[in-house]
């Protein structure tokens, strides 16, 4: 079946959905919302049927989120949806690639991250990660079998070396975006076009903070993203909100301060650190 992209763009843009009141015009609202979901699905099929037609469930879920979260301040709805879909599709691709990579092994995000950290630490100290001693040590430390450790090391090496990789279709994916997507990071933050845009936005909001808040936010954000910072362009280190000390310590030892460590450093409790971060995130969006 051939789908006409222009036809569905028009239907989406001309939809009366967002002029209806969900509470007082609920029949009309529900009808137009369901039609919008269908239009969005057909629109994506018109763009690339092979890529998107089997992602009906994902499209429906994203359409639902976009319809519920959209307001006119976010610009044209179709542009808003397209940006969201771009990020969602990247996440879907990464999950599929990681499923292939890990060949059915169920590895938690924490374990994957820890393996990379241990490998980085080992490499920095000149230890060969491909020895039996190393795999035995890692197996004991992470409570995994040696076979599992060997599989993970073999598959993790690609991710450790570069933040970008190319899939079989030649598309380039940025590790930072995908990792944060699969780690259930704040979705609103991820709707920015790329890392540079995100960093600029963080910097903008960060510079408006009071000094005492800046120190905490700098530590917390650096701790959260330094796993990937090393692999991102050098310019990332020139942002004020990056704590260079934390970053350097991570590069040397693989250590990342926990929220508890940060709370103790500033003589606060963990809940207070969480609240500060939450307020900061709200200002970002």
């Amino acid at each position: 079946m051939k789908y006409d992209r222009a036809e569905y763009e028009t239907k989406i843009n001309d939809s009366p959905l967002f002029s209806l009141n969900k509470e007082t015009q609920y029949n009309a609202y529900r009808k137009e919302a369901l039609k919008m979901v269908e239009y969005l699905y057909f629109y994506l099929c018109a763009i690339n049927y092979e890529k998107y037609s089997d992602l009906g469930c994902e499209i429906v879920e994203l359409a639902n989120r976009c319809i519920n979260n959209y307001d006119i301040s976010k610009g044209v709805f179709l542009h808003y949806f397209n940006t969201a879909w771009k990020n969602e599709y990247k996440r879907i691709r990464q999950v599929n690639i990681e499923d292939d990579k890990y060949r059915g092994l169920h590895i938690s995000e924490t374990d994957k991250r820890n393996v990379r950290r241990y490998m980085r630490l080992a490499q920095n100290r000149g230890v060969d990660c491909n020895t039996k001693e190393f795999t035995e040590c890692l197996s004991n430390a992470m409570n995994l079998t040696e076979t599992e450790v060997i599989e993970i090391i073999g598959m993790s090496e690609v991710a450790v070396i570069s933040n970008e990789f190319r899939n079989e279709n030649g598309e380039i994916f940025d590790l930072f975006d995908m990792e944060k997507s699969t780690e259930s990071a704040d979705r609103k933050l991820l709707q920015a076009e790329d890392v540079h845009t995100v960093f600029n936005r963080i910097e903008e909001v960060y510079n408006k903070l009071q000094d005492r808040q800046k120190k905490i936010i700098s530590d917390v954000i650096t701790a959260k993203i330094c796993d990937n910072l090393e692999d991102i362009c050098i310019w990332a280190e020139h942002f004020d909100f990056i704590n260079i000390e934390i970053l350097e310590r991570y590069k040397k030892t693989g250590e990342i301060p926990t929220q508890r460590d940060i709370a103790q450093k500033y003589n606060r409790d963990e809940a207070s650190i969480s609240r500060t971060l939450k307020q900061f995130k709200e200002k970002l969006c």
């Binding site: 209806l20 009309a28 369901l34 979901v37 699905y41 057909f42 469930c57």
Partner: protein
């Protein structure tokens, strides 16, 4: 605007008039007491430049009063239209009161024959035998997919009965269910559990 109104006509005698209410601003009703809920809605939504084709679906057997009720419908809408001035034409599709497959298919084909391309369709499924809404849904699905029609409303007049008298009448619109069916018919999903999850998502819209 070209509108097709398809209405199931009751077979029983003495269809009472009622004032139908609505809590939904997108489903307005008039304060006039009517026999057919769709007429209460049409009084509030019909425009002078509308071209209305009324397709009345009647069932006949030796006891049926459907023809008399169809005449009452025409009288009712003519009265309403006096103040509006829309162009209205009437047509009646009469079939035997039978649950045979051949009758269902004949009825569906007849309904489709009377639907004009590029029109807006409204239906009233309040009255009539239980097979009628299913036949209508099939005809409307065909019209939407192949005749470039838009399904606007599927009206149902809800009523309670107290000592045999009709009370608490209000109109409902089943159009969200129709479009839910349309969406689920369209989307590909090979995994049953994910499909169930998708349905829950659609129901939460």
């Amino acid at each position: 605007m070209k509108k097709i109104v398809i209405c199931n006509v009751p077979m029983r005698e003495n269809v009472d008039k009622s004032v139908y209410t609505s809590a939904d601003l997108s489903l307005p009703t008039s304060s006039r007491a009517v026999r057919f809920p769709i007429n209460s809605f049409l009084e509030e939504t019909l425009n002078p430049d509308d071209e209305l084709k009324l397709v009345l679906l009647t069932k006949n057997d030796e006891y049926s009063c459907a023809q008399k009720n169809a005449e009452d419908f025409i009288t009712e809408i003519d009265e309403i239209n006096k103040n509006i001035g829309a162009k209205i034409e009437f047509t009646n599709i009469d079939t035997a009161f039978s649950q045979e497959q051949a009758i269902h298919e004949q009825l569906m084909a007849s309904i489709v024959d009377h639907i004009d391309v590029d029109s807006h369709i409204l239906a009233d499924i309040t009255y009539g035998p239980k097979d009628m809404p299913i036949v209508l849904f099939s005809a409307m699905g065909f019209a939407e997919k192949f005749l470039r029609c838009e399904i606007d409303n599927i009206i149902y007049g809800q009523a309670n009965f107290e000592n045999g008298k009709v009370v608490n009448t209000k109109i409902c619109d089943m159009i969200p269910l129709y479009y839910l069916n349309s969406v689920t018919d369209t989307i590909h999903c090979d995994e049953p559990e994910r499909a169930k999850h998708m349905l829950k998502t659609l129901l939460s819209l």
